[in-house]
Protein backbone atom coordinates (compact mmCIF):
# COMPACT_ATOMS: atom_id res chain seq x y z
CA UNK A 1 0.00 0.00 0.00
CA UNK A 2 2.66 2.51 1.03
CA UNK A 3 4.74 1.53 -1.95
CA UNK A 4 1.79 2.08 -4.25
CA UNK A 5 1.08 5.48 -2.74
CA UNK A 6 4.71 6.38 -3.22
CA UNK A 7 4.55 5.24 -6.86
CA UNK A 8 1.55 7.41 -7.65
CA UNK A 9 3.00 10.37 -5.76
CA UNK A 10 6.33 10.02 -7.55
CA UNK A 11 4.61 9.77 -10.91
CA UNK A 12 2.77 13.05 -10.28
CA UNK A 13 5.93 14.75 -9.06
CA UNK A 14 7.85 13.63 -12.12
CA UNK A 15 5.11 15.01 -14.35
CA UNK A 16 5.28 18.25 -12.41
CA UNK A 17 9.06 18.34 -12.68
CA UNK A 18 8.86 17.93 -16.46
CA UNK A 19 5.98 20.32 -17.08
CA UNK A 20 6.57 22.72 -14.15
CA UNK A 21 2.95 23.83 -14.19
CA UNK A 22 2.85 24.53 -10.46
CA UNK A 23 6.08 26.45 -10.42
CA UNK A 24 5.56 28.44 -13.60
CA UNK A 25 1.78 28.94 -13.55
CA UNK A 26 0.21 28.37 -10.13
CA UNK A 27 2.87 30.04 -7.97
CA UNK A 28 2.90 33.22 -10.07
CA UNK A 29 -0.91 33.31 -10.06
CA UNK A 30 -0.97 33.07 -6.26
CA UNK A 31 1.65 35.80 -5.94
CA UNK A 32 -0.40 37.88 -8.35
CA UNK A 33 -3.42 37.50 -6.03
CA UNK A 34 -1.32 38.93 -3.19
CA UNK A 35 -0.15 41.82 -5.38
CA UNK A 36 -3.69 42.59 -6.54
CA UNK A 37 -4.90 42.65 -2.93
CA UNK A 38 -2.05 45.04 -2.14
CA UNK A 39 -3.26 47.32 -4.94
CA UNK A 40 -6.82 47.11 -3.74
CA UNK A 41 -5.93 47.97 -0.15
CA UNK A 42 -3.22 50.45 -1.04
CA UNK A 43 -5.01 53.40 0.47
CA UNK A 44 -4.88 51.76 3.89
CA UNK A 45 -1.58 49.92 4.45
CA UNK A 46 -2.47 48.96 8.02
CA UNK A 47 -5.27 46.80 6.60
CA UNK A 48 -2.68 44.79 4.67
CA UNK A 49 -0.91 43.81 7.86
CA UNK A 50 -4.14 43.04 9.67
CA UNK A 51 -5.49 40.91 6.84
CA UNK A 52 -2.23 39.20 5.90
CA UNK A 53 -3.14 35.87 7.53
CA UNK A 54 -6.48 35.69 5.78
CA UNK A 55 -5.07 36.77 2.42
CA UNK A 56 -2.41 34.06 2.65
CA UNK A 57 -5.04 31.36 3.07
CA UNK A 58 -7.32 32.74 0.39
CA UNK A 59 -4.39 32.80 -2.01
CA UNK A 60 -3.37 29.24 -1.12
CA UNK A 61 -6.96 28.03 -1.45
CA UNK A 62 -6.98 29.55 -4.90
CA UNK A 63 -3.78 27.69 -5.65
CA UNK A 64 -5.34 24.48 -4.29
CA UNK A 65 -8.31 24.75 -6.67
CA UNK A 66 -5.96 25.21 -9.61
CA UNK A 67 -3.70 22.41 -8.39
CA UNK A 68 -6.56 19.95 -7.91
CA UNK A 69 -7.82 20.71 -11.39
CA UNK A 70 -4.37 20.21 -12.84
CA UNK A 71 -3.85 16.99 -10.85
CA UNK A 72 -6.85 15.33 -12.49
CA UNK A 73 -6.43 16.95 -15.90
CA UNK A 74 -3.35 14.83 -16.37
CA UNK A 75 -5.42 11.72 -15.56
CA UNK A 76 -8.42 12.56 -17.71
CA UNK A 77 -6.38 12.54 -20.92
CA UNK A 78 -6.26 9.19 -22.64
CA UNK A 79 -7.97 7.29 -19.86
CA UNK A 80 -4.96 7.39 -17.55
CA UNK A 81 -7.11 6.74 -14.52
CA UNK A 82 -8.42 3.51 -15.99
CA UNK A 83 -4.88 2.54 -16.86
CA UNK A 84 -3.79 3.07 -13.26
CA UNK A 85 -6.63 0.94 -11.94
CA UNK A 86 -6.05 -1.78 -14.52
CA UNK A 87 -2.42 -1.75 -13.49
CA UNK A 88 -3.59 -3.23 -10.21
CA UNK A 89 -3.42 -0.15 -8.00
CA UNK A 90 -5.92 0.03 -5.14
CA UNK A 91 -8.23 3.07 -5.44
CA UNK A 92 -7.07 4.30 -2.04
CA UNK A 93 -3.46 4.24 -3.19
CA UNK A 94 -4.30 6.37 -6.22
CA UNK A 95 -6.19 8.82 -4.04
CA UNK A 96 -3.55 9.17 -1.33
CA UNK A 97 -0.69 9.23 -3.81
CA UNK A 98 -2.27 12.07 -5.72
CA UNK A 99 -3.16 13.85 -2.48
CA UNK A 100 0.43 13.60 -1.28
CA UNK A 101 1.73 15.00 -4.54
CA UNK A 102 -0.77 17.84 -4.43
CA UNK A 103 0.16 18.56 -0.79
CA UNK A 104 3.85 18.79 -1.74
CA UNK A 105 3.03 21.20 -4.54
CA UNK A 106 0.86 23.26 -2.20
CA UNK A 107 3.71 23.49 0.30
CA UNK A 108 5.77 24.92 -2.53
CA UNK A 109 3.00 27.42 -3.27
CA UNK A 110 2.72 28.22 0.45
CA UNK A 111 6.44 28.90 0.82
CA UNK A 112 6.33 31.36 -2.05
CA UNK A 113 3.15 32.97 -0.74
CA UNK A 114 4.69 33.35 2.73
CA UNK A 115 7.78 34.94 1.20
CA UNK A 116 5.47 37.24 -0.72
CA UNK A 117 3.73 38.24 2.50
CA UNK A 118 7.04 39.04 4.19
CA UNK A 119 8.20 41.18 1.29
CA UNK A 120 4.99 42.79 0.02
CA UNK A 121 3.02 43.19 3.24
CA UNK A 122 6.00 43.68 5.56
CA UNK A 123 4.64 41.41 8.30
CA UNK A 124 6.74 40.13 11.15
CA UNK A 125 6.47 36.55 12.38
CA UNK A 126 6.19 36.08 16.13
CA UNK A 127 5.83 32.31 16.21
CA UNK A 128 7.49 30.34 13.40
CA UNK A 129 6.54 26.95 14.83
CA UNK A 130 2.85 27.87 14.79
CA UNK A 131 3.14 29.07 11.19
CA UNK A 132 4.81 25.86 10.06
CA UNK A 133 2.49 23.45 11.90
CA UNK A 134 -0.73 25.28 11.01
CA UNK A 135 0.50 25.76 7.45
CA UNK A 136 1.30 22.08 6.94
CA UNK A 137 -2.00 20.90 8.48
CA UNK A 138 -4.00 23.35 6.38
CA UNK A 139 -2.27 22.52 3.13
CA UNK A 140 -2.61 18.78 3.71
CA UNK A 141 -6.34 19.32 4.34
CA UNK A 142 -6.65 21.41 1.16
CA UNK A 143 -4.82 18.70 -0.77
CA UNK A 144 -7.14 15.91 0.44
CA UNK A 145 -10.31 17.92 -0.27
CA UNK A 146 -8.93 18.94 -3.63
CA UNK A 147 -8.11 15.35 -4.55
CA UNK A 148 -11.52 14.05 -3.43
CA UNK A 149 -13.43 16.63 -5.42
CA UNK A 150 -11.00 16.38 -8.29
CA UNK A 151 -11.75 12.66 -8.47
CA UNK A 152 -15.46 13.43 -8.24
CA UNK A 153 -15.44 15.81 -11.18
CA UNK A 154 -12.76 14.15 -13.30
CA UNK A 155 -13.67 14.02 -16.94
CA UNK A 156 -16.82 16.09 -16.54
CA UNK A 157 -17.29 18.82 -19.06
CA UNK A 158 -18.03 21.62 -16.59
CA UNK A 159 -15.46 20.46 -14.03
CA UNK A 160 -13.53 23.73 -14.36
CA UNK A 161 -16.40 25.82 -13.10
CA UNK A 162 -17.87 23.27 -10.71
CA UNK A 163 -14.70 22.42 -8.80
CA UNK A 164 -14.37 25.80 -7.03
CA UNK A 165 -18.06 25.74 -6.08
CA UNK A 166 -17.66 22.31 -4.50
CA UNK A 167 -14.25 22.84 -2.99
CA UNK A 168 -14.46 26.27 -1.40
CA UNK A 169 -17.32 25.59 1.08
CA UNK A 170 -15.71 22.37 2.26
CA UNK A 171 -12.37 24.11 2.64
CA UNK A 172 -13.93 26.94 4.64
CA UNK A 173 -13.18 25.47 8.10
CA UNK A 174 -9.53 25.24 7.08
CA UNK A 175 -9.64 28.81 5.83
CA UNK A 176 -11.15 30.01 9.11
CA UNK A 177 -8.91 28.06 11.49
CA UNK A 178 -5.80 28.69 9.41
CA UNK A 179 -6.47 32.41 9.32
CA UNK A 180 -6.97 32.59 13.08
CA UNK A 181 -3.79 30.63 13.74
CA UNK A 182 -1.79 32.82 11.35
CA UNK A 183 -3.22 35.99 12.86
CA UNK A 184 -1.85 34.87 16.21
CA UNK A 185 1.50 33.85 14.76
CA UNK A 186 1.81 37.19 12.98
CA UNK A 187 0.92 39.04 16.16
CA UNK A 188 -2.26 40.69 14.89
CA UNK A 189 -4.62 38.89 17.25
CA UNK A 190 -4.62 37.76 20.88
CA UNK A 191 -6.52 34.54 20.14
CA UNK A 192 -5.55 31.00 21.10
CA UNK A 193 -3.43 30.02 18.13
CA UNK A 194 -2.76 26.43 19.14
CA UNK A 195 -6.45 25.69 19.71
CA UNK A 196 -7.11 26.77 16.16
CA UNK A 197 -4.25 24.61 14.97
CA UNK A 198 -5.80 21.70 16.87
CA UNK A 199 -9.05 22.37 15.02
CA UNK A 200 -7.06 22.29 11.77
CA UNK A 201 -5.69 18.90 12.78
CA UNK A 202 -9.18 17.60 13.55
CA UNK A 203 -10.46 18.82 10.20
CA UNK A 204 -7.50 17.10 8.57
CA UNK A 205 -8.26 13.81 10.31
CA UNK A 206 -11.91 14.13 9.26
CA UNK A 207 -10.92 14.53 5.64
CA UNK A 208 -8.56 11.57 5.93
CA UNK A 209 -11.43 9.45 7.26
CA UNK A 210 -13.79 10.61 4.52
CA UNK A 211 -11.12 9.99 1.90
CA UNK A 212 -10.63 6.52 3.29
CA UNK A 213 -14.30 5.73 2.96
CA UNK A 214 -14.82 7.46 -0.37
CA UNK A 215 -11.81 6.21 -2.34
CA UNK A 216 -13.51 2.95 -3.31
CA UNK A 217 -16.88 4.24 -4.49
CA UNK A 218 -15.25 7.18 -6.28
CA UNK A 219 -12.53 5.39 -8.19
CA UNK A 220 -13.51 1.73 -8.39
CA UNK A 221 -15.79 1.94 -11.40
CA UNK A 222 -16.71 5.56 -11.67
CA UNK B 1 -43.50 49.83 11.93
CA UNK B 2 -40.39 48.09 10.58
CA UNK B 3 -41.32 45.12 12.76
CA UNK B 4 -44.60 44.64 10.97
CA UNK B 5 -42.98 45.27 7.58
CA UNK B 6 -40.25 42.71 8.17
CA UNK B 7 -42.64 40.09 9.53
CA UNK B 8 -44.92 40.67 6.56
CA UNK B 9 -42.14 40.44 3.99
CA UNK B 10 -40.76 37.33 5.68
CA UNK B 11 -44.08 35.52 5.42
CA UNK B 12 -44.75 36.71 1.89
CA UNK B 13 -41.29 35.69 0.72
CA UNK B 14 -41.62 32.25 2.26
CA UNK B 15 -45.07 31.74 0.76
CA UNK B 16 -44.08 32.97 -2.70
CA UNK B 17 -40.87 30.94 -2.83
CA UNK B 18 -42.60 27.73 -1.75
CA UNK B 19 -45.53 28.27 -4.09
CA UNK B 20 -43.19 28.99 -6.99
CA UNK B 21 -41.35 25.76 -6.32
CA UNK B 22 -44.59 23.77 -6.14
CA UNK B 23 -45.75 25.22 -9.45
CA UNK B 24 -42.39 24.58 -11.07
CA UNK B 25 -42.33 20.93 -9.95
CA UNK B 26 -45.87 20.19 -11.06
CA UNK B 27 -45.52 21.94 -14.38
CA UNK B 28 -42.25 20.20 -15.09
CA UNK B 29 -43.95 16.89 -14.32
CA UNK B 30 -46.74 17.71 -16.74
CA UNK B 31 -44.39 18.78 -19.52
CA UNK B 32 -42.22 15.70 -19.18
CA UNK B 33 -45.23 13.41 -18.87
CA UNK B 34 -46.74 14.77 -22.05
CA UNK B 35 -43.44 14.56 -23.83
CA UNK B 36 -43.21 10.90 -22.91
CA UNK B 37 -46.85 10.22 -23.67
CA UNK B 38 -47.54 8.95 -20.19
CA UNK B 39 -50.80 10.89 -20.02
CA UNK B 40 -52.66 8.01 -21.64
CA UNK B 41 -51.41 5.59 -19.04
CA UNK B 42 -52.37 7.76 -16.12
CA UNK B 43 -50.22 9.72 -13.73
CA UNK B 44 -46.64 8.64 -13.29
CA UNK B 45 -47.26 7.23 -9.86
CA UNK B 46 -49.27 4.46 -11.47
CA UNK B 47 -46.66 3.66 -14.09
CA UNK B 48 -44.50 0.78 -12.97
CA UNK B 49 -40.98 1.65 -11.98
CA UNK B 50 -39.33 -0.35 -14.68
CA UNK B 51 -35.80 0.89 -14.51
CA UNK B 52 -33.89 -1.29 -16.83
CA UNK B 53 -30.74 -2.85 -15.51
CA UNK B 54 -27.48 -1.87 -17.01
CA UNK B 55 -25.44 -4.66 -18.60
Amino acid sequence: MWREIWLVCRKDMIIEWRARVTLVQIVPTVLLVLVVFAFALDANPSLLGAGAGGLFWVAVLFGAVLGAKRSFDIEAEGGNLDALRLGGLVPAAILWGKAAALALQLVLVGVFAAAGLLVLYSVTVHDWLLIVVAGLCGMAAFAICGTLYGAMTVGLRSADTLLPLLLIPVAAPVLLAGTRAFDVALGTSADQGWSWTALLAVVLVTYVAVGWAAAGPLLEDA
Amino acid sequence: MTHAANVFSGYVLAAVATAAYVVWVIRRGRTLGRHLGIGARGPVSDVADESRPRD
Binding site: G88, Q192, S195, A198, V205 | T2, H3
Partner: protein, 187 residues
Protein backbone atom coordinates in the same frame (compact mmCIF):
# COMPACT_ATOMS: atom_id res chain seq x y z
CA UNK C 1 -7.49 -33.55 -15.19
CA UNK C 2 -9.52 -30.40 -15.24
CA UNK C 3 -10.32 -28.66 -12.01
CA UNK C 4 -14.09 -28.59 -11.69
CA UNK C 5 -14.32 -27.34 -8.13
CA UNK C 6 -16.49 -24.26 -7.80
CA UNK C 7 -14.58 -21.06 -7.44
CA UNK C 8 -15.37 -17.96 -5.53
CA UNK C 9 -16.29 -15.34 -8.12
CA UNK C 10 -13.43 -13.19 -6.89
CA UNK C 11 -10.95 -15.96 -7.45
CA UNK C 12 -12.40 -16.74 -10.85
CA UNK C 13 -12.04 -13.16 -11.94
CA UNK C 14 -8.32 -13.44 -11.36
CA UNK C 15 -8.41 -9.95 -9.92
CA UNK C 16 -5.77 -10.16 -7.23
CA UNK C 17 -6.37 -6.65 -6.07
CA UNK C 18 -10.03 -7.55 -5.48
CA UNK C 19 -9.11 -10.62 -3.45
CA UNK C 20 -6.76 -8.57 -1.33
CA UNK C 21 -9.45 -5.98 -0.92
CA UNK C 22 -11.91 -8.55 0.32
CA UNK C 23 -9.41 -9.87 2.83
CA UNK C 24 -8.39 -6.41 3.95
CA UNK C 25 -11.96 -5.41 4.62
CA UNK C 26 -12.00 -6.58 8.22
CA UNK C 27 -8.73 -4.85 9.00
CA UNK C 28 -10.07 -1.77 7.28
CA UNK C 29 -13.13 -1.80 9.55
CA UNK C 30 -10.92 -1.95 12.65
CA UNK C 31 -8.82 0.94 11.42
CA UNK C 32 -11.98 2.79 10.48
CA UNK C 33 -13.38 2.39 13.97
CA UNK C 34 -10.06 3.55 15.41
CA UNK C 35 -10.02 6.64 13.21
CA UNK C 36 -13.59 7.40 14.18
CA UNK C 37 -12.70 7.15 17.86
CA UNK C 38 -9.68 9.39 17.36
CA UNK C 39 -11.89 11.82 15.53
CA UNK C 40 -14.47 12.00 18.28
CA UNK C 41 -11.82 12.39 20.98
CA UNK C 42 -9.98 15.04 19.00
CA UNK C 43 -13.19 16.86 18.21
CA UNK C 44 -14.26 16.85 21.84
CA UNK C 45 -10.85 18.11 22.99
CA UNK C 46 -10.84 20.90 20.43
CA UNK C 47 -14.33 21.98 21.16
CA UNK C 48 -13.49 22.09 24.87
CA UNK C 49 -10.46 24.18 24.02
CA UNK C 50 -12.33 26.52 21.72
CA UNK C 51 -15.30 26.90 24.00
CA UNK C 52 -13.47 29.61 25.83
CA UNK C 53 -11.70 30.98 22.82
CA UNK C 54 -13.25 34.27 22.02
CA UNK C 55 -14.71 33.80 18.63
CA UNK C 56 -17.35 36.45 18.55
CA UNK C 57 -17.28 38.54 21.73
CA UNK C 58 -15.69 38.93 25.13
CA UNK C 59 -17.87 39.13 28.18
CA UNK C 60 -17.51 42.24 30.34
CA UNK C 61 -15.48 40.50 33.05
CA UNK C 62 -13.08 38.98 30.49
CA UNK C 63 -12.68 42.30 28.72
CA UNK C 64 -11.57 43.87 32.03
CA UNK C 65 -9.24 40.99 32.85
CA UNK C 66 -7.60 41.13 29.41
CA UNK C 67 -7.38 44.90 29.25
CA UNK C 68 -3.59 45.00 29.00
CA UNK C 69 -3.41 42.44 26.18
CA UNK C 70 -6.24 44.09 24.30
CA UNK C 71 -4.56 47.48 24.33
CA UNK C 72 -6.33 49.71 21.83
CA UNK C 73 -7.39 46.84 19.54
CA UNK C 74 -11.00 46.55 18.48
CA UNK C 75 -13.04 43.73 19.93
CA UNK C 76 -16.66 42.87 20.76
CA UNK C 77 -17.96 43.26 24.30
CA UNK C 78 -21.02 41.52 25.73
CA UNK C 79 -23.06 42.35 28.80
CA UNK C 80 -26.52 43.22 30.06
CA UNK C 81 -27.48 46.88 30.01
CA UNK C 82 -28.13 48.40 33.45
CA UNK C 83 -31.41 50.29 32.97
CA UNK C 84 -30.68 52.99 35.54
CA UNK C 85 -27.36 53.88 33.89
CA UNK C 86 -28.69 54.80 30.45
CA UNK C 87 -28.28 58.46 29.51
CA UNK C 88 -28.52 60.14 26.12
CA UNK C 89 -26.51 63.28 25.41
CA UNK C 90 -26.62 64.56 21.86
CA UNK C 91 -25.79 61.63 19.59
CA UNK C 92 -23.94 59.79 22.35
CA UNK C 93 -25.57 57.18 24.55
CA UNK C 94 -23.78 56.30 27.78
CA UNK C 95 -24.63 53.28 29.90
CA UNK C 96 -23.09 50.38 31.75
CA UNK C 97 -23.09 46.71 30.91
CA UNK C 98 -22.68 43.96 33.51
CA UNK C 99 -21.57 40.39 33.12
CA UNK C 100 -20.45 38.15 35.98
CA UNK C 101 -20.56 41.07 38.40
CA UNK C 102 -18.10 43.10 36.33
CA UNK C 103 -19.37 46.44 35.11
CA UNK C 104 -18.05 48.36 32.11
CA UNK C 105 -18.91 51.97 31.32
CA UNK C 106 -19.80 52.42 27.64
CA UNK C 107 -19.90 55.47 25.38
CA UNK C 108 -21.85 54.55 22.30
CA UNK C 109 -21.72 56.99 19.39
CA UNK C 110 -24.47 55.67 17.07
CA UNK C 111 -28.23 55.38 17.54
CA UNK C 112 -28.94 52.06 19.28
CA UNK C 113 -31.45 49.54 17.83
CA UNK C 114 -35.06 49.49 19.06
CA UNK C 115 -34.73 46.62 21.48
CA UNK C 116 -32.08 48.52 23.44
CA UNK C 117 -35.03 50.04 25.29
CA UNK C 118 -35.91 46.76 27.02
CA UNK C 119 -34.50 46.58 30.55
CA UNK C 120 -31.52 44.29 31.19
CA UNK C 121 -31.21 43.38 27.52
CA UNK C 122 -27.90 41.67 26.63
CA UNK C 123 -25.98 43.61 23.98
CA UNK C 124 -22.82 43.04 21.93
CA UNK C 125 -20.80 46.20 21.31
CA UNK C 126 -17.95 46.77 18.88
CA UNK C 127 -15.19 49.14 19.88
CA UNK C 128 -12.10 49.54 22.05
CA UNK C 129 -10.88 50.47 25.49
CA UNK C 130 -10.20 54.18 26.04
CA UNK C 131 -8.40 55.43 29.17
CA UNK C 132 -10.48 57.77 31.31
CA UNK C 133 -11.65 57.97 34.92
CA UNK C 134 -15.22 56.73 35.29
CA UNK C 135 -17.47 55.66 38.11
CA UNK C 136 -19.56 52.54 37.64
CA UNK C 137 -21.97 50.71 39.90
CA UNK C 138 -19.06 48.43 40.84
CA UNK C 139 -16.74 51.30 41.78
CA UNK C 140 -14.08 53.39 40.05
CA UNK C 141 -12.52 52.35 36.79
CA UNK C 142 -9.60 53.62 34.72
CA UNK C 143 -11.03 52.86 31.28
CA UNK C 144 -14.32 53.08 29.48
CA UNK C 145 -15.44 51.27 26.32
CA UNK C 146 -15.89 53.41 23.22
CA UNK C 147 -18.34 51.72 20.90
CA UNK C 148 -19.65 52.52 17.43
CA UNK C 149 -21.79 49.48 16.69
CA UNK C 150 -24.39 47.82 18.85
CA UNK C 151 -26.07 44.47 18.34
CA UNK C 152 -28.84 43.32 20.62
CA UNK C 153 -28.25 39.73 21.64
CA UNK C 154 -31.73 38.70 22.53
CA UNK C 155 -32.11 35.59 24.64
CA UNK C 156 -33.79 32.33 23.77
CA UNK C 157 -36.65 33.06 26.13
CA UNK C 158 -40.04 33.91 24.77
CA UNK C 159 -43.03 35.05 26.77
CA UNK C 160 -46.33 36.61 25.80
CA UNK C 161 -46.33 40.39 25.99
CA UNK C 162 -49.79 40.72 27.54
CA UNK C 163 -49.30 38.13 30.28
CA UNK C 164 -49.32 39.47 33.81
CA UNK C 165 -45.72 40.12 34.60
CA UNK C 166 -44.44 39.52 38.07
CA UNK C 167 -42.59 42.39 39.71
CA UNK C 168 -41.49 45.58 38.00
CA UNK C 169 -39.78 45.53 34.59
CA UNK C 170 -36.65 47.05 36.11
CA UNK C 171 -36.07 43.82 38.05
CA UNK C 172 -32.80 42.14 36.88
CA UNK C 173 -33.09 38.59 35.56
CA UNK C 174 -33.33 36.00 38.31
CA UNK C 175 -29.99 35.25 39.96
CA UNK C 176 -28.08 37.63 37.66
CA UNK C 177 -26.74 39.87 40.44
CA UNK C 178 -26.90 37.42 43.35
CA UNK C 179 -23.15 37.04 43.92
CA UNK C 180 -22.26 40.66 43.29
CA UNK C 181 -20.68 42.65 46.12
CA UNK C 182 -22.36 45.86 44.96
CA UNK C 183 -25.89 47.18 44.78
CA UNK C 184 -27.34 48.25 41.48
CA UNK C 185 -29.44 51.41 41.69
CA UNK C 186 -33.01 51.22 40.39
CA UNK C 187 -34.73 53.64 38.08
Amino acid sequence: MTDLSPRHPLEASGDRAAVRRQMGRRRKAVIGAFVLLLLIAGGAATIAGLRNATLFFRNADEAIAERVELGDRRFRLQGRVVPASVAVDGGVTTFEVIHNCASVAVRHSVDPPDLFESPWIPVVLEGRWVPGEVVTVAGRDTHFFSSDNMLVKHTNEYAAANADRIGDPDEPPEGFLDDCPFEVPRL
